[in-house]
């Protein structure tokens, strides 16, 4: 079979003029456009396959599971929308959604401002700036479990460094992780400490993309730092800002589980029980996989809506006029 095909190819090569100077004796079976599509597909395939196996299929299975009562020991019973009805009437779930809302509302802007501020700082041509950048990025590479343990010791009510410093300064120590009004703030602060280096680098890359000539022109026109930031940096940084905003919002809604698990275990009094923690607890702690799937599906829906709103507000992620 292959011999016949080879003969045929050779025959065609001798009687058919080449279509391009680069053409060899082998006539391409696919057009250039098709070959590019094929190459793109092959390059994308590993990622698509990974998304399919680890995201899309589990997501579909999870939505399916949300219609079942699951015992955690292998028994499944179809209950239709029962888990969703339970979710609507579960005060703990709605408390966890409120806490998640607070967490996102405070974490995302704080993280955005701190990261942008650090990005602007480390963009300066300072001696040893590389060291500062590395040090600020370092918390991001530490496991969240290690971060949790570390901050648990630092924030310890009796012997923690933070309270010792406060007492040395003449203040009373606080129960940082034992008070519901403070614990969520501590989790947000620790999360900012962890994530700020990563988003700082993203902002730094965005800042370095802005042509230096714009700043030089502004300087010649007598613009001060604030005017320069407002009229040049901020508008030209919009694509980066959008990316940071979107990513940090998604990360805030879906992430932080390991940190919460180690630092507060959802306490005190469910004060740090984010929706993702509550879902995890229901699924893997109590074996309520069906119910957890229903809540997870709802959370995904919320995330899709938030992403859609963000895209809408930013005109589909396009920032340059005329596009």
């Amino acid at each position: 079979m292959s011999g016949v095909a080879a003969q045929e190819r050779r025959h065609r090569a001798t009687v058919t003029p080449a279509r391009s100077p680069a053409a060899s004796g082998r006539r391409p079976r696919l057009s250039r456009k098709h070959r590019e599509w094929l190459a793109a597909g092959l390059f994308l395939a590993p990622d698509v396959l990974g998304l399919l196996v680890f995201v899309a299929i589990p997501m579909v299975l999870s939505i399916g599971l949300s219609f079942f009562q699951v015992s955690g020991f292998g028994s499944y019973e179809w209950i239709g929308l029962g888990n969703y009805r339970r979710m609507l009437n579960d005060p703990l779930f709605w408390d966890s959604m409120k806490i998640t809302g607070l967490y996102v509302v405070f974490l995302v802007p704080l993280l955005f401002c701190v990261s942008l501020g650090l990005g602007l700082l480390v963009k300066q041509k300072l001696p040893g700036v590389g060291v500062y950048r590395t040090m600020l990025f370092m918390p991001y590479v530490i496991s969240l479990v290690v971060v949790g343990v570390l901050w648990k010791f630092l924030l310890d009510e009796q012997t923690g460094v933070v309270n010792r410093a406060m007492r040395a300064a003449g203040f009373d120590g606080e129960s940082w992780l034992g008070s519901p009004s403070l614990a969520l703030g501590c989790v947000i602060a620790v999360m900012v400490w962890v994530m700020m280096g990563y988003y700082m680098i993203i902002f730094l890359a965005g800042l370095q993309e802005i042509p230096q000539e714009f700043y030089e022109a502004a300087k010649l026109d007598g613009a001060g730092p604030w005017t320069t930031f407002r009229t040049i940096t901020w508008p030209l940084l919009r694509p980066t800002s959008f990316f940071v905003l979107l990513m940090s919002t998604v990360a805030a809604i879906t992430g932080g589980l390991d940190l919460i698990f180690v630092l507060t275990n959802g306490g005190p009094a469910n004060g740090t029980s984010l929706a993702i923690f509550y879902i995890y607890q229901q699924a893997f702690g109590f074996g309520e996989y069906g119910y957890a799937s229903a809540m997870g599906s709802f959370l995904v829906l919320i995330m899709v809506l938030i992403s859609a709103v963000l895209f809408k507000l930013t005109r589909g992620g396009r920032f340059d006029d005329g596009e």
Partner: protein
């Protein structure tokens, strides 16, 4: 190949060495290598065959704490002895205690059909495993004399007259206190509190900026509930009454919730665990004056701080109340859906529940040699006493004063546990009203028990 002439300047590439073919071949080879690994990773425990797995939080491991090493050795020796004399072989799988006790690895393993063949189970968590059908019936492997020997220690591990778990220990709760702190404050043994108010007053007197006067468990979980139950029971409170009806919303419950709330509100008890919940470290470091803890810490003090001066006393009672403490302790269980449930059940009984001397002596060694516990079998308790295991002042007090007023840790499914836990956490740490918290929890438990199907909750 050279007929068009255009190829003359290009290196001739054979089809087998082109970049595309190379990448294709590499991807194919990678898939071929990865596929079996991925597929076997999705298999079930039973499909794997092999040795039985015994999940526990003791061994094998190496620790700076000699008591922990001794406990690990007890497990290793036991399994080695079994493996030397039985066809079905067992492998010990050690999980760190926090992962095992408060983590979700065990339930997740069962949910995926990968549950261990033999495992340790807390009475508080007994029901969901029992209702899930994963606990093997151990009764056919036991002699009646052995069941009688365990007596009431089996009550919370039985369903319809069948034994589903064998306790390895009984662990009563008491109040530990630092004698040096006590004496420096001008207190003597005569000042040991017998009422809640006295306990709070002394805690208030002993506390400093860096020392907690009194410590109650603060982390939410089955363990916190376990340590709270005796305070409720002392006033006559119950989660469910004798008929199985919800009785949580009672004066005794509100009183117990109020005790912990007052202790925290007045700064006598901390809101988080001192010394990262390390009992010996907390006392030695001078961070704690009194701590509600269990008998198991006696062996830790003996091994890790033998010269440290501490004492224990019975949990104080409320006005008009009667003394009760909670009795914990873990059990051996066999997985009814494991590789070899018969062999796993046989192992549990061989290890702890046989009338043979080897089995009884093993429990004696665990309870008074390796660890410090009350033995759950009468014969083992007698032998342990004869061996001098309860001669020390502390162990004697546990055996003769603290343990007799004990009551087994109740077995409640997660929904009931969570309702109680939320009431404790809300009142203790968020300052919620005790009446409202008790009422909410009772309502939540009632809604659940109305449709509950499974083994008896009481």
């Amino acid at each position: 190949m050279l007929q068009h002439g255009n190829d003359a300047g290009r290196p001739a590439t054979s089809p087998g060495t082109s970049r595309r073919r190379f990448l294709t071949a590499a991807a194919g080879a990678g898939s071929a290598v990865a596929a079996p690994a991925l597929l076997t990773g999705c298999g079930t425990a039973r499909a794997k065959g092999g040795n039985l797995q015994f999940w526990n939080f003791y061994g094998p491991q190496r620790s700076p704490d000699p008591a922990v090493n001794a406990q690990a050795k007890w497990f290793v020796d036991m399994v080695d002895r079994w493996n030397a004399t039985h066809k079905a072989r067992i492998d010990l799988v050690h999980l760190p205690q926090p992962t095992y006790v408060n983590g979700f690895k065990l339930p997740s393993a069962f949910a995926t059909g990968e549950g261990p063949d033999i495992f340790l189970l807390s009475p508080g968590d007994f029901l969901r495993y029992c209702n899930g059908g994963v606990l093997a019936d151990l009764t056919p492997h036991m002699e009646k004399a052995a069941i009688d020997d365990f007596g009431s220690a089996l009550d919370s591990r039985m369903v319809d007259g069948k034994v589903y778990a064998l306790p390895m220990e009984i662990e009563p709760l008491a109040m530990f206190y630092a004698q040096d702190v006590w004496e420096k404050a001008g207190l003597s043994e005569a000042d040991i509190p017998t009422t809640w108010d006295q306990m709070l007053d002394i805690g208030d007197k002993l506390r400093t900026r860096t020392r907690a006067g009194l410590v109650f468990e603060t982390n939410p979980g089955y363990y916190q509930n376990f340590t709270w139950y005796p305070w409720m029971w002392q006033g006559g409170g119950e989660v469910l009454d004798e008929r199985g009806d919800v009785a949580f919303d009672s004066k005794a419950t509100r009183q117990a919730l109020g005790l912990w709330q007052d202790a925290v509100r007045h700064g006598i008890a901390p809101r988080t665990m001192p010394a990262a919940a390390d009992v010996v470290g907390g006392f030695k470091g001078g961070n704690v004056a009194m701590w509600q803890q269990g008998i198991w810490n006696v062996s830790s003090f003996k091994a890790f701080a033998p010269k440290y001066r501490y004492g224990v006393f019975k949990l104080p009672t409320p006005p008009g109340g009667r003394y009760v403490t909670a009795l914990g302790g873990w059990s051996f269980c066999a997985n009814a859906q494991g590789r070899d449930p018969e062999a796993a059940a046989e192992f549990c009984v061989w290890a702890l529940g046989s009338m043979k001397d080897e089995s009884i002596d093993r429990m004696v060694e665990w309870c008074v040699g390796t660890k410090s516990d009350v033995a759950p079998r009468d014969t083992a308790l007698d032998r342990g006493s004869a061996k001098g295991g309860y001669d020390s002042e502390i162990m004697k007090k546990f055996k003769d004063e603290i343990f007799p007023g004990g009551r087994a840790e109740p077995r409640y499914p997660p929904v009931v546990y969570k309702a109680i836990s939320d009431a404790i956490q809300g009142t203790m740490l968020a300052g919620h009203g005790v009446a409202g918290a008790a009422e909410r929890a009772a309502r939540s438990i009632a809604a659940y028990t109305k449709s509950y199907q499974g083994a008896s909750l009481i």
